[in-house]
């Protein structure tokens, strides 16, 4: 806890000291991210720790190779207070006044939206690790890439998995913001195309504190699968409350937050068989395993099994593009758009600004690990169905 923040502070000081000596040589990379406000929880689990880890690792190896010369990385990170106007203003500062060499994206779909047109206009390439929205990808901004799987990918994979498990009926709850609505939209289409019956669909607002009446009504309808398009606190809430009322369908899926280490801690001994949004773990490959270990060593906590790895991979891609073409941002953009990159998630290529290499995935808690179980090509374990009873 305290050690954690001291660690961050110390590493920043270290960074400042090391860059002081090399001030004219350092590659300056700026970003704003939520350290306070409602987005801080997600941003500080899945995104900013990876920025810090990557910069430390690059500098430990001597720096970023730019045009044949090793240069240290200097991160310039500000708090955006989870506020839209602040995030826009900060990127204007970074790009116009500080004239940083590169920028990294802020947290989440809304904030990425707010700075995407700006980055595009000023020609700063940006690979967003936590933006998931058709509306954003539909804008087709040449300098903006998304590396996280988009709603239709994740939901199609989910529907395919349901078909394979012989699921005939489902009940859905979803958060009523952009993320929830886009996903549930994609999900409804996929379910309809596979003739899966939607027995019940309920939306709820951010910050909900009790969903047991909703879950009880769903239990009465006895669906084969429960699907929650939920955020971390609600993911834990629906899991705990489903267990309390003994609602245990064949498939139990809750979206964001199942991949967090917190989920395992909160549902002590009750995670077995729960599915959710996840796309990697330490078994995904040797590089993923190293990353996992390095993350624990630096922050004394595990990375989450979904967006953390995407965030780190986005930095690897940026690094490889820079090492290939130098710091000319238009050329970096072209390199990202046209190349293939080795990352902890495996090779990644982009098509239309979207990650074309990593399909939508489904993960499942099995014996204390969040295993990728769908599609089979990316699976780290075999899917277990039906879900065992809650303890």
């Amino acid at each position: 806890m305290l050690r954690n923040s001291i660690c961050i502070a110390a590493s920043l000081l270290g960074l400042a000291a090391s860059t002081a000596a090399l001030a004219d040589e350092a590659v300056r990379i700026g970003y704003a991210i939520a350290r306070t406000g409602p987005f801080a929880g997600g941003a500080q689990v899945s995104q900013e720790p990876n920025y810090l880890l990557w910069a430390e690792q690059v500098n430990a190896k001597g720096g970023l190779m730019v045009a044949g010369k090793q240069r240290k990385v200097e991160l310039i990170g500000y708090d955006d207070r989870s506020d839209t106007e602040t995030v826009v203003r900060t990127y204007e500062k970074l790009m116009n006044q500080d004239k940083v060499d590169l920028v990294l994206p802020p947290w989440g779909t809304g904030q990425t939206f707010a700075v995407a047109t700006l980055a595009n206009k000023l020609g700063y390439p940006m690979i967003a690790p936590t933006a998931s929205s058709k509306k954003l990808t539909d804008m087709k901004l040449p300098f903006v890439f998304t590396i996280l799987q988009q709603p239709d990918q994740m939901m199609n994979a989910l529907a395919d998995m349901l078909v394979a498990q012989g699921v005939k009926t489902v009940a859905v709850v979803h958060v009523d913001d952009l993320f929830g609505l886009e996903n549930v939209d994609a999900l409804s289409k996929a379910l309809a195309s596979h003739n899966i019956g939607l027995l019940d669909k309920k939306s709820y607002p951010l910050g909900v504190k009790d969903l047991s009446p909703v879950l009880k009504a769903m239990k009465e309808k006895n669906p084969d699968a429960f699907l929650g398009i939920t955020y971390p606190p609600d993911t834990i809430l629906v899991s705990k409350q489903a267990r309390e009322i003994g609602f245990n369908p064949k498939i139990f899926y809750a979206a964001v937050g199942t991949a967090f280490p917190l989920y395992k801690a909160q549902l002590t001994g009750n995670t077995e068989g729960v599915m959710g949004m996840g796309s990697w773990n330490a078994k995904t490959g040797a590089a993923a395993k190293d990353y996992f270990a390095a993350h624990i060593a630096k922050f004394q906590k595990e990375p989450d099994r979904w967006a953390s790895a995407h965030a780190y991979a986005s930095l690897q891609i940026l690094q490889q593009a820079v090492e290939k073409v130098g710091l000319d941002r238009a050329r970096i953009r072209d390199a990202i758009a046209g190349g293939e990159f080795q990352t902890i998630l495996g090779p990644i290529k982009f098509k239309d600004g979207m990650n074309a290499s990593i399909p939508g995935t489904v993960s499942q808690w099995q014996k204390g690990e969040f295993e990728v179980v769908w599609p089979k090509t990316r699976a780290t374990a075999t899917l277990v169905s039906p879900k065992p009873a809650w303890n």
Partner: protein, 301 residues
Amino acid sequence: MKDWIKWLPLIAALAAVPWLTNAYMVSLLLTCLMYVALAVSWVMFSGPSRYLSLATTAFFGIGAYCTAWGLGHLPWPLLLLGGALAAAGTAALVGLFVLKLRGSYFAVLTFGLSELALHVINQTERSISGTVGRVLLNPPEQDAIYLAVLALALAAIACCAWLWRGPLGHALRGIGADEDRAATLGVNPLRVKLAGFALAAAFAGAVGAAMAGRWTYIDPHTVFNPLIGFQTVLIVMVGGASRIQGAVIGAVIFSLLSEFLRMRFPYFYLVLLGLLLILSVLYLPNGLIALLPRKKAAAHG
């Protein structure tokens, strides 16, 4: 009345800013001006009448949604006017009910209204378009937004000065001092309050309509951010509510200071900002304007 002439060079300099500096300086000043406009619009009504309103968020959000809905169909300057009218209309309508309550009841009620507006728009958007946010495809240029907000801030200041000098201002002050007594002196309190409340709302609505253009993507939680209303009140309290200068100075200092602290101390600037707020209320209880010489007040007697 003539002393506004001496401000002309400053106004001209502010208007020239987009051509003189970079986009960051413009957006920093834009933030200042946005809060100047909001704070002056707030103090215009709430200063003399002492009705502590937290409805600024609602008016700002309503204005922003005018831009979100209308951009691409109507020219942008017209949308600013639309935002102003929509906010003023809302204020006049809800004012009929909420302006009957005083003190903290009014404050909490106006806060509730802002939240209600958020959730009503959220529900409306969901049932009409099936989604919540809106993408602004051809937003206005930043410089245009800056000049629009500058104009709104100046208009708010001029309007406030005009209002406070005229009969409506006197009536509002009378209501603030003793509403029942004001009523016996021939003032129709409800009508006066409605007029003041709606006029103030118009500026907040227009500012919302202008600012929306900056964010590409508009959703209810962004534009109905309760922080906007709270921060406006804080600014006026820190600056001092008895004079227009208080709102202006409060807005400029608060915006610049929080930006400076955020850049300089990225990990604990909010702790510093909180401490400064506490210290300011302990040691500068009458606001920053207490530091200004009071020659104007003397001129007015």
